[in-house]
């Protein structure tokens, strides 16, 4: 299966929907009835101040955490996501804030971890890796993101922070069939690479993928995303079209106060 040929499953308009999500950590109520809706072919940016609950909500959406209250549905069907692996099976790709690459494994190995192509016939049963295919496809996948890494065989440890992030993004894009969830995907990237990542994300959305991006880079979100959802104190206080919003309005909603235009 090469990068280009992954089909995006046809699905109803709403890809992932979360309603009334409540999550407590001891006495702390991280989420107090959050609602969010990610639509097919749309980039939704989730913004909010530190502690607003963005990462917690993302973790619940991708199966890393279970909500205390509330409902989650994938592609219109109510679902209880058991684990991240389960979310993957359902068609969700995730790029984490902390990268979760295995640094001792090569770039190609990381891209394919858990879904390694095996050689055909009886060798498939033994689990023999098709390393040539992995190498070639990995090169193509990274090239499509504009990433030039000399060798697919170097351990990920040898890459710069930006390159590691690029590999993590490539991995999510490679396997997502219907939706991608990104938590600060460009935090470690320079401006050029950030641009490339979001170009790719936009093209993926045009292909029908549903995208949720969590980011502190609000100006970038305003230009890249279709809709912006603002979180404050564990709830989503507003969800509007990006084209309808200005930076100071977004910040105002994040902080709960009027912020004069710059």
């Amino acid at each position: 299966m090469s990068f280009d040929s992954l089909p995006v499953d046809p699905a109803p308009d709403v890809a992932i929907e979360a309603t009334g999500i409540v999550k407590r950590f001891g006495h702390l109520e991280a989420l107090r009835g959050a609602n969010v809706r990610i639509r097919q072919g749309e980039i939704l940016a989730l913004v909010g101040d530190n502690g607003a609950g963005k990462s917690t909500l993302a973790k619940i959406l991708c199966g890393a955490l279970a909500p205390d209250e509330g409902a989650l549905s994938y592609w219109g069907d109510p679902v209880e996501v058991q684990s991240i692996a389960h979310a993957y099976e359902l068609g969700l790709g995730v790029v984490y804030q902390d990268l979760s690459l295995a640094l001792d494994l090569s770039v190609a190995d990381n891209l394919y971890l858990g879904r390694e192509p095996t050689k055909n016939g009886w060798r498939k049963w033994l689990g023999i890796l098709h390393r040539d295919r992995m190498r070639q496809d990995a090169r193509a996948a990274l090239a499509r993101l504009g990433i030039n890494v000399k060798s697919m065989n170097v351990p990920a440890r040898n890459l710069s922070g930006g390159q590691r992030q690029a590999v993590a993004v490539a991995r999510a894009m490679l396997w997502a069939r219907r939706a991608v969830l990104m938590d600060e995907p460009t935090a470690a990237l320079g401006p050029k690479q950030t641009g490339i990542v979001f170009d790719t994300v936009q093209r993926a959305a045009e292909d029908g993928l549903a995208v949720l991006v969590i980011s502190h880079d609000i100006p970038r979100m305003l230009s890249v995303a279709h809709r912006i959802a603002v979180m404050r104190h564990g709830v989503v206080v507003a969800e509007r079209k990006a084209s309808d919003l200005h930076l100071n309005e977004v910040i105002g909603m994040m902080l709960g106060a009027e912020v004069p235009a710059a």
Binding site: A102, L129, R139
Partner: protein, 366 residues
Amino acid sequence: MTDETLEVPAARPVADEAVDAVTAADAAPREDRWLDQARRSTAFWIGLAIVLLGVGFGVLSGGAFTRDSNLLSIGLNSSQIMLLAVGMTFLIGAGQLDLSVGFNVIMSSVIAAKVMVAVGGTAEQVAARDYPNLIPAVIAGIVVAILVGAAGGLLNGLLVTRLRINSFIVTLATSGMFYGVALILTSAANVPFLPQEIQTYFGAARDPILGRVPLPLIMALLIAAVFWWVMRRTRFGLHTLAIGSSREAALRAGIDVDRHLVKLFVMMGVLVGMAGLYDLVRYASTNVVGHQTDNLQAISAVVIGGTSLFGGVASIGGSLLGTLIPVMMGNGLIILRVQPFYQLIVVGIILVIAVYLDQRRRGGMA
């Protein structure tokens, strides 16, 4: 490599031509020349050290070290530890340790020996060295040794994954359990009345071609070759290293980490059972007072061989060579009539150096 080396037109989707250009430029595989790879490989350096040791001892001993009978001895001594080192390579590669190996070897050899004697004939026949059921006895012994070893490994694996206790502590505890079982079963004496045939036909057997290489060593090398191949070329090996490198990444990739770890411990147990058979085959007896430092020898061999204690990096070849160093050292010193206790000191020093280099390699890059 810095991010600034990227040359891509800004604010436009990456055009297909650009993709082709990048792909073409990168298409020629830049695999290093084998010499460069060899220079960087720890296995290479250990191989060199072994050759130097061999030559050094050979010269110093006036040829006694390199005599056939001595090389034979070295080969046999190391073949048992090699089996353990192979399994340990996988475990350490996955970020685990198994301290119970030597004691599991004793337990499985003891139980296998008892079964062999029981199946071989009645008590009187066996005491008179008469084995009417020799073949079934031997087969039973082999099967039981492996099953008992595997059961010990399974216990280790379940305790580590279900109770979430780290492997160091678990295997420290099971060391005592396995040894206790063995001592209870034998009242701390070696199992008597094992058929000599297993020693003459297997223990002392040689390869058919040259007639010089002992069969147990050949088998150990063959088994090691299989496991080398599994580590390098299969999904199983890749997942092992992934778990050692980043348990989190492995989990998020959908790997069932707990199940994989149990498999690794059971695999170690199977190799332990085979090593237990080696005792029987070499001496036609068990060795209940031996094996006390098998765990340390195996772990040292693995670490000296280049496998990282941090997990994620492993070398079967290195482990095999790493086994030879303490064995050659001890053997050579005896021949030179130097107190073999110096071997303990030297191996200890080598181990510290190996771990230090491993840390430097990891610390400098992370």
